[in-house]
Subunit: 634 residues, 2 copies
C-alpha cells in the first residue's frame, strides 16, 4: 500500500477482434499508444471454416489428430506472451444442437487452449456467452480444460447486461448457470464487457462485484464525447468502472474504433482516459488503509477469554481513532448524569478487561472533562498486559487507579462501582462472550449503576461472494464451512439490508447473584429477507453489531450506521455449505441460534429460500450442530 | 425369504394417548388383544403443567437440574421396554415464540428422551408436527438428541395429509423442512398417521414411499364397518397401507376406540384386520424374489470388459426366464426373414461374448424352430468360461459350433456372418461398453447382416429416495456421490415418468473398418421433466434401458415397458451430491454426457430445477468431471 491511501492501478490493454496478418504491427501500435497488454484472436477464422467443411474420412482424421498449419495462426510464436490475452475463436459453439459442430468445437477449443498454454499467454477468453439457452456443455469442457492450465488464466466473456432487456439479469443468470455447473471452479474468471446502456437497477451492477471479474472490456463505441470532443465515459459507466477498479482492480481492455467517432480522439485517447481514472480513484479511507491486503481474507475470530492477546494486537486495537473517543463520551455523559455539578462525590469506575489501559485513560479524560472525581479499578487477567498497567500506574495514574489481577468472573471486590466499563465485544457483538463476562462482573455494580456498553445487537444479512465461498471451500472440509470468519469484505454483495437477530442488555435483571446456568444467554431468531427483482446467489451470511455505550452514544459496524473511521472490527462471515439460488422476489429466511453448555458457547445457523407460494426452493442443513466445528470456550 | 415369495409381516401395536395410572393393565390388555408392541406417553401431563408454572428461582433450579418425581412418570421402570414406543409429551413446543416455553420444552424433551433411552424403549415418537410454521428449533434439538441415542429409535410424528387441505402436501413439506435441516439424519425416522380422508392425487401418497417411514398409526376412527359390522379399511386406505407394508414393513400402531364405533368390533378386531392384511399381501414376483435382501442395496456396475465374470454370476444371469426366450425369438424371426422357406442356405451366426453358451443354445433352438440351417461361431475372451464352452461343444454342439477364444475387438475372422448376436448390455444400455465392443465386431458382419440387438436406448428420470441418498452419503466422500450404482429400487419415488436420453444402433454406418477414435460414441442430452402439483425432493437419477433385439422383439427394464419377470438387470442409480428441492410445477432439467478418451468411457451428469419464469431455483454442479470418480475401462 502507498502510505497515502492510493489504490493500485489497473492495467490497460488494446483489444482487436479483427485478425491481424501481421501481429507485430498490432503489438507495436498497442505499445505506442500506451497500453500495458494486448487482446487478440489466436487462430484465423479460416481454420474453422476449413474444419467445419470436413466430411467422412477427412473429418475423422482431423478429429483424431487436429493440427494447425502455420498460416492458420495469428499468434504463430511466443512473443509478448506475458501481456497477451488470447481470444478463442468465435465459431466455437459448444452447446450447438448440431452434434458435429458441437464435437468439432470441443476439439478445436481444446486445441486453441493448448496452443495458448504452450505459448504462455497470460489468459484466454471464451466467445461471449449466449444470452439464453444451454451453457452446460461449455461448462463441462471448460471444467476439464482448466485442470491442465497453470500459467494461463481462463476468462469467460460475459456482457454486463442483455441489451434487449436491460432490466433482466439474464446475462448474470447465464454466467451463474455455468459457474454452478463448474462448482465455482476458482480457475474460471470473468471478462466483463460493458454495454452502451447499463441497467438502472443498481443491484444488477453491484452483483458483479461479488463475482470473479478479472478483466473488463470497454469498447470505444461506449465512450461519449465531452464538450471538447474527447472520449469520456458517461456518469453511470464511470461510476461502475471506478467501483470495479477500486474493488477488483481488473485488466481493462479497450478498442480503437475503425473510424473516428469522437472528434478529437487520437489512438491513445481511450487509454489516456482510463489512465485518468486510475489517477482519480477515491483514496482509501482509514478502515480500508488499515485493512489493505486483508480484504476478503478469512481470519478466525479471537477467543480473548481463552487466549491472551499479544502486545501488537493491543497496539493495533488501541490505535483506533474512534472507539476510545466514543467510550470517553459515554463515560463523560454518564458522569454528568450521575453526579451533580460541583459535587465532591468520588464515583467508582471499574474497567473490566483493562488490557494495556486505554479505557482507563478514557475514564480519566472523561472525568477531567466533566469535572467529576473518580477512582478507577482496572481488572485484567492477562499477566503480560498487567505489567504494562503497572508501568502506567507507577508513571502516570498513581493513586487514582487500583490494579486488580483477576478474571472478572471470579473476582470478589470489596466495594461496588457506579460505572462498569468493558470492551468485550466481537464482530457479532456477543461472540467474544461479553454477555457471560458481564453476568459475572455485574455483581460489582451498584443496583443503580451503569454498564458501558448497556446494550448490543447482532445483525445479519444474506450475502453473495464467490471469492469468500471459494476461500472456505478450498479447505475441502466440513469444519471450515461451519466456522465464522472475521473478514474485511471486498468482493461481496448483500442481497438485502441487514436485520437485527438479538440484543443483550446490561445489567441484566434476570441475573441475580451467581447465575446457576447460562440459559438466559441462549438466543434463537428467524429473520426474513425479501430479495429484489433480480435472480441472485447466496454464499453465506454477513454478521455485524451495533452497541449502545450510553444513551445515544453508539458504536456500530453495521453498514447502515457504521461509525465512520472506526476500524477495530471487521464484519463476521458465516459460510453456508452449498450456495443457494435466490430467484427474483424470493424470501430468504435465516435461522440463528446462540447455544451454550457448561463449557462453551456456539452458534448454529441455517437458511432457506422460499417462493411466492411459500414453497421452499432451496435450503441448507443446520450448520455447526452442537458446536461440532466451532465454539468459544467459557 | 420364504421360498414361496411370502413377504415379511408387520408388527402390530396398541397405542394410547391417554396416560395410564396403571400401565400394567394396559400392557396386559395389549397382549391379550394380540398386539406385538405398545405405544404410550412416557410422562404424565401434570409434569408439564408444573414446570410451566415455575417462575424465578424455582424455574432456574429446575432448568439447572431437571428431575422427575416418581409420580410424574407413566413408564416408571424398565418393563416390556423392547416392545414399547414412548410418546413424547404433547406440551413440548420447540418452536414457540414464547422463549420460556421454548427453552422449557427443549430441556423437557431432552429429559424425556434420556429417560426413554435409560429404560431402553425401542423408540420414541415426537408430538405431531404442526401443519405450518417453523420446525427449525425442533430440528436442531432432535439433531443433537439423536447423536446420543443408540438402541432407542426416534420417530417424528407426521400426518399423511393436512385434513383441512388434502390436496396440498403441507404435511410432507413440514417433514421435508425438518429433514433438510437435520441433513437427512439417518437416525430420524417417521411415524406416519393416517387420516380419515386421503388425498386423491396418488403421488401425494407415493411420495411417502421414498421417506424413512418406520411406523404408521391407524386410529380406530379411520376404520369403516363392513356389511357384517366389522371394522375394515376403505379401499383407498387399504391400498396405501398394503403398499407401505410391502415396501417398508412398518410398525403399525392401532387404537381401541373409547366407545363402540363399529357394531361388531371387539377389542382385538382392529389388530385382527391388520393380521388379515399381513396374510394377504401380494406375493413377490420373480424379480422381487430374486432381489429379496438386495432392495435399495448399492452395487457397483459390472465391468465385464476389464474383469472376467465368475461362474456363479454366469449361472445367475442364465437363470433369467425371459431374456433368453426373447433372444431366441429375435434369432428365430431374423432367420425366417433372411432365409426362404425350404432353402438349404446355412446362415453364419456369430455369438460375441458367448460366456458359458446360453446364447449359442438360443440360436440353435431358434434355428430348429424356424427349420433353418446355421453354423454358430462362439467368441469368448474369458478363459474360464471357455472351458465350459469346450465341454458343451464336445458333449452337445459338435460341428455345428466353432469356438473362438478371442477378444471380439481384436479377432480377425476368415468369413463374415449373417447374424451377430451379443448380450453386452448393462442397466443403462451402453454402460458395459456394448457400443465399443460391437464397433469392433461389426466387421464380422456381412454388409446386409443383422445385429441382435439392433438398437438400445438409455432412459432417465428424477427420483426421490432418502434411503438411497443416505446410503451414498454414508461413505462421506465425493467418489461415492459420483458413481452410479445398480440397485433394486424399493423405497423410491419417481418424480416424473422416465424419458430417453440417447440411442445406439448396430450396425453403425458411421463406423467403417477400424474406427480411429471413439467420438461417434460420445453423447450429450438434456432432458426436461415437468413436476406435478406437489412439492417434492430429488435425490438422484434413475436409469434404465430398452433394447430392440430384432424388429418388434424387445427387452426392457424401463418401468413403462418392463419385460415381465425378467430379472437380469436392476435399474441404475446416479446420485446427486445435494438433494434438490422441487417445488410444485417446476421444471427439472437433467444433463447427461457419455464421454470417452483412449482408455475409458464415463458419464457426467448434472441437474437443475427451474420455476415458471425459467429462473433456476436449485442446481447441482457437473458430477464426475473427466471421469474422476467413475469410469469404465476400454
Amino acid at each position: 500500500m502507498d502510505s497515502d491511501g492510493t489504490r493500485p492501478k489497473c492495467p490497460r490493454g488494446l483489444l482487436t477482434n479483427d485478425y491481424y496478418d501481421n501481429i507485430e504491427t498490432f503489438i507495436s501500435a498497442a505499445y505506442e499508444t500506451g497500453h500495458d497488454f494486448l487482446a487478440t484472436p489466436i487462430v484465423h477464422p479460416k481454420y474453422g471454416d476449413r474444419v467445419n467443411g470436413y466430411k467422412g474420412k477427412q473429418l475423422q482424421e482431423w478429429r483424431a489428430r487436429p493440427v494447425y498449419d502455420r498460416d492458420d495462426l495469428i499468434l504463430k510464436k511466443a512473443q509478448s506472451q506475458e501481456v497477451t490475452l488470447g481470444l478463442l475463436s468465435k465459431w466455437l459453439k459448444l452447446d450447438s444442437k448440431d452434434a458435429d459442430l458441437r464435437v468439432n468445437s470441443e476439439i478445436a477449443l481444446r486445441q486453441e487452449i493448448q496452443w495458448a498454454c504452450h505459448l504462455g499467454l497470460f489468459a484466454v477468453a471464451t466467445p461471449c456467452l449466449p444470452s439464453k439457452g444451454s451453457v452446460a456443455n461449455l461448462a463441462r469442457v471448460l471444467n476439464h480444460a482448466v485442470s491442465a492450465m497453470s500459467v494461463t488464466q481462463l476468462f469467460v466473456h460475459v456482457k454486463v447486461a442483455d441489451v434487449k432487456d436491460l432490466e433482466s439479469n439474464r446475462a448474470w443468470k447465464q454466467w451463474n448457470k455455468l459457474r454452478n455447473l463448474t462448482e465455482h471452479n476458482p480457475k474460471i474468471g470473468i471478462i466483463l464487457e460493458l454495454t452502451f446502456h447499463l441497467p438502472k437497477n443498481e443491484m444488477l451492477l453491484d452483483m458483479w462485484l461479488a463475482e470473479p471479474v478479472k478483466a473488463i472490456i470497454i469498447p470505444a463505441e461506449i465512450f461519449v464525447s465531452n464538450p471538447k470532443g474527447y472520449p469520456v465515459l458517461k456518469k453511470s459507466h464511470q461510476a461502475f468502472v471506478k467501483k470495479l477498479m477500486e474493488k477488483t482492480a481488473p485488466y481493462i481492455a479497450l478498442t480503437i474504433p475503425p473510424t473516428q467517432i469522437h472528434p478529437m480522439a487520437v489512438p491513445n485517447s481511450y487509454c489516456e482516459y482510463i489512465n485518468f481514472l486510475n489517477n482519480h480513484l477515491s483514496k482509501m479511507d482509514p478502515v480500508e488503509q488499515f485493512a489493505f491486503g486483508y480484504q476478503d481474507f478469512l481470519q478466525n475470530p479471537l477467543q480473548p477469554l481463552m487466549d491472551n492477546l499479544d502486545n501488537s494486537m493491543y497496539a493495533t486495537f488501541e490505535s483506533d481513532p474512534i472507539k476510545y473517543q466514543e467510550y470517553e463520551n459515554a463515560v463523560y455523559h454518564a458522569l454528568l448524569d450521575r453526579v451533580k455539578d460541583g459535587s465532591d462525590y468520588e464515583s467508582v469506575v471499574m474497567v473490566v478487561g483493562a488490557g494495556r489501559g486505554p479505557l482507563v485513560n478514557c475514564c480519566l479524560r472523561a472525568a477531567d472533562r466533566a469535572d467529576r472525581k473518580i477512582h478507577v479499578y482496572a481488572v485484567e487477567k492477562n499477566p503480560n498486559a498487567f505489567v504494562t498497567l503497572q508501568n502506567a500506574k507507577a508513571e502516570t495514574w498513581h493513586d487514582q487507579v487500583t490494579l486488580v489481577f483477576a478474571d472478572m468472573r471470579k473476582w470478589k471486590p470489596e466495594r461496588q462501582c457506579d460505572i462498569l466499563v468493558s470492551e468485550l465485544l466481537g464482530s457479532f457483538g456477543d461472540n467474544e462472550l461479553s454477555p457471560e463476562c458481564l453476568d459475572g462482573a455485574q455483581k460489582f455494580l451498584k443496583p443503580d449503576g451503569i454498564s458501558i456498553p448497556c446494550a448490543y445487537t447482532a445483525y445479519v444479512s444474506p450475502m453473495a461472494s464467490s471469492k469468500l465461498y471459494n476461500e472456505v471451500a478450498s479447505y475441502k472440509d466440513l469444519t471450515h464451512f461451519e466456522t465464522p470468519y472475521v473478514v474485511m469484505f471486498q468482493k461481496t454483495c448483500e442481497l438485502a439490508p441487514s436485520k437485527p437477530v438479538w440484543t443483550f442488555e446490561h445489567p441484566n435483571p434476570q441475573v441475580d447473584g451467581e447465575p446457576t446456568d447460562n440459559l438466559h444467554n441462549v438466543r434463537f431468531a428467524s429473520v426474513d429477507f425479501q430479495a429484489g427483482p433480480q435472480d441472485m446467489i447466496m454464499h453465506g451470511i454477513a454478521g455485524y453489531f451495533e452497541a449502545q455505550l450510553y444513551k445515544n452514544v453508539m458504536i456500530s459496524i453495521h453498514p447502515q450506521t457504521h461509525s465512520p473511521g472506526m476500524f477495530s472490527w471487521f464484519p463476521i462471515f458465516f459460510p453456508i455449505r452449498t450456495p443457494l439460488q435466490v430467484p427474483a422476489h424470493s424470501n430468504v429466511s435465516i435461522q440463528f441460534w446462540r447455544a451454550t453448555d457448561e463449557k462453551k458457547v456456539w452458534y448454529e445457523w441455517s437458511a432457506s429460500v422460499e417462493n411466492d407460494e411459500g414453497d421452499v426452493t432451496a435450503d441448507t442443513p443446520i450448520h455447526n450442530v452442537g458446536g461440532r466445528s466451532y465454539w468459544v470456550g467459557l
